[in-house]
């Protein structure tokens, strides 16, 4: 296996580093936070650029509106809070003042999904990708590791339009090269294979890397695609790979409804019907527990990717 573990870090720290770098390189970038500066790792930006950092307090709806207003005059606002408070709590504000109004706001969401852990279901949003990808004009990005989150944070400043950037809390292996170029909408093929295509995003990319080795022992050659951009979806990458392998597994830390799997199935059902299996949370809220315990209990762990790949492979007949 050619995957070298370059270190272990949380993706939110990748966001923090990327934002700090933007603070030095792009004078138009401003940042807003709703009382979670430390959790979002926005301290470095705040320290270096106090005049371009806006503390919104525990008032997320106002924060989204402020950010939309700050685009008028040419600023590029990055908002930071937990994924739950970045989406569900402020959906209407994003819909009207950001997406419909085509404002250049970057909604940066940490602690997404089950891996927020012990705080439990109130904070573990599993519907946010669905909500955000339904919005016209919205770009949806779920980077895979620390390095990619940093690269994506920097890259979206160059994209003129609303972006939802989703990342998380747990410390996970780093495998994306520090000098890799992040291209919005261009998937990364991490491993080539012939029997099954695994399309993953976020923390499930690492879980899928782990699954590759197990599948290899079972004699199954899996292709792995890091689909870091959910919208716009890299349709060509999906069709090219599924055309070769003939079956697909999608893997994500999100509800099955509305997530990456559904986006991929829209492509396959129209362009290339073939067996697809879903590694995702099945219509359920989460609960308290460690991140890894929760991934196992809710069926989004390495073994679940393996099982789904075996099943998809078997369904090819």
């Amino acid at each position: 296996m050619e995957f070298e573990i370059l270190g272990n870090k949380d993706t939110r720290s990748g966001f923090g580093e990327g934002l700090a770098e933007l603070g030095l390189t792009n004078p138009d970038v401003v940042a807003l936070c709703a009382d979670l500066t430390g959790s979002l790792k926005m301290d470095a930006f705040q320290k270096e650029n106090p005049d371009r950092f806006f503390q919104a307090g525990i008032a997320e709806a106002n924060m989204i509106g402020l950010a939309a207003g700050m685009t008028i005059g040419g600023k590029i606002p990055y908002t930071g809070t937990f994924a739950n408070f970045s989406t569900g709590r402020v959906y209407d504000q994003i819909r009207q003042s950001v997406a419909y109004s085509q404002k250049n706001v970057k909604i940066c969401a940490s602690h997404a999904g089950l891996t927020l852990g012990e705080d439990g279901a109130t904070h573990q949003i599993l519907e946010d990708i669905g909500m955000m990808r339904m919005l016209p004009n919205m770009t949806v990005i779920v980077p895979a590791d620390f390095n990619q989150t940093k690269q994506a944070t920097i890259a979206i400043a160059e994209h003129n339009g609303p972006v939802y950037l989703r990342f998380g809390r747990p410390v996970m292996p780093i495998f994306v090269k520090p000098d890799a170029k992040f291209v919005i909408g261009k998937a990364d093929v991490l491993a080539e294979g012939t029997d099954v295509t695994i399309i993953a995003c976020g923390h499930l990319v690492w879980k899928s890397i782990e699954a590759l080795a197990i599948l290899k022992e079972k004699g199954i050659s899996a292709e792995l695609i890091n689909m870091h951009t959910i919208k716009p979806l890299d349709v060509q990458a999906i069709l090219k790979s599924a055309g070769k392998t003939g079956c697909v597994v999608t893997a994500e830390e999100h509800m099955m409804n509305g997530g990456l799997g559904e986006a991929v199935s829209q492509v396959l059902s129209r362009e290339l019907p073939c067996p697809q299996e879903y590694v995702a949370v099945n219509d359920s809220f989460g609960e308290s527990g460690t991140p890894m315990e929760l991934m196992t209990k809710y069926g989004i762990d390495t073994q679940d990717v393996v099982n789904a790949a075996m099943k998809a492979f078997a369904r090819k007949g």
């Binding site: 919104a56 307090g57 709806a61 106002n62 989204i64 939309a68 207003g69 008028i72 005059g73 109004s101």
Partner: protein, 280 residues
């Protein structure tokens, strides 16, 4: 501008409003008529802007955000009369493919509009953000907003009110259309705002009260509001208005909040409003 000239503008704007909503049998004439004097003053005397070449960023200009987007007819009329787009386009209001959507939007690129509104309570946050960028960049422009009184029932308004005072956003002048009416009836009955001036004072704002139908008073209070800018506090103007002002049968009730006059009613309304600048 002379008061008589402002009155001519406002009269024509009122004609535009009732003709626009009647033509498509939909829209919100009541609040639109009530704010015709204020918006005429804002665009024909108060604000500094460039209507000929609209720029989204509005650098160096004063900005206006309509937070209660349902009174779009009055804004569209004033924008057209102020030179943002041809007045003939008012005839497309609410029609398929028009730039004049039922509620204001930016996606059809109508000059003069910088933010969609309609879902209530969002405009004050947007305005505070735009105002902070002006301060950050040394832009001397002032940011104005208009809100319905019923709209103040939305919680986000008070988030923004707290934020703007705490952060000394003192280049922001918000105006409340205090007509006392909302869809279901009188604001007092639906959900009382209590002592509105005291609420804003308690949130740390400068508070002015104004008669929204007397140009002398509008001029005095808007001048005072502008003079209060740069002194550490945002400014709110509680503007007393009459919903439906200028059309006798629309005044004195909430009934014409979102109902358009039919052809016969339109004739009655137009007979009360001077065609001062020529109909579109």
């Amino acid at each position: 501008m002379e008061n008589s000239a402002l009155e001519k503008v406002a009269s024509q704007v009122r004609r535009d409003i009732v003709r626009m909503v009647s033509a498509v049998n939909s829209g919100h004439p009541g609040g639109s008529l009530g704010c015709a004097d204020f918006l005429s003053f804002l665009y024909f005397e108060q604000m500094n802007f460039n209507a000929e070449s609209f720029d989204m960023d509005g650098i160096g200009e004063d900005l206006f955000f309509l937070s209660n987007g349902h009174i779009s007819p009055v804004w569209y009329s004033v924008l057209a009369r102020a030179g943002y787009f041809p007045v003939a386009e008012l005839g497309t209001f609410r029609k398929l493919s028009s730039r004049l959507q039922g509620h204001p939007s930016t996606d059809k690129k109508l000059p003069g509009i910088r933010m969609a509104s309609g879902s209530l309570g969002q405009g004050l946050s947007v305005a505070a953000g735009a105002a902070q960028v002006k301060k950050l960049t040394g832009d001397k422009g002032i940011v104005y907003t208009l809100h319905g009184d019923g709209e103040l029932q939305e919680g986000q308004i008070w988030e923004a009110a707290m934020y703007a005072a705490a952060n000394k956003v003192d280049n922001l002048i918000a105006t409340i259309d205090y007509n006392g009416r909302q869809i279901d009836g009188d604001v007092e009955d639906v959900m009382s705002l209590g002592n509105l001036a005291q609420k804003w004072l308690a949130f740390g704002w400068e508070v002015l009260e104004m008669d929204g139908h007397q140009f002398e008073d509008i001029r005095a209070k808007m001048t005072a509001a502008k003079a209060l800018c740069g002194k550490g506090k945002p400014v709110v103007i509680i503007m007393k208005t009459e919903m439906g002002q200028g059309v006798d049968y629309m005044m004195g009730s909430h009934k014409w909040h979102g109902v358009a006059p039919n052809a016969e009613q339109l004739t009655v309304a137009l007979a009360q409003l001077e065609e001062s600048l020529g109909d579109y």
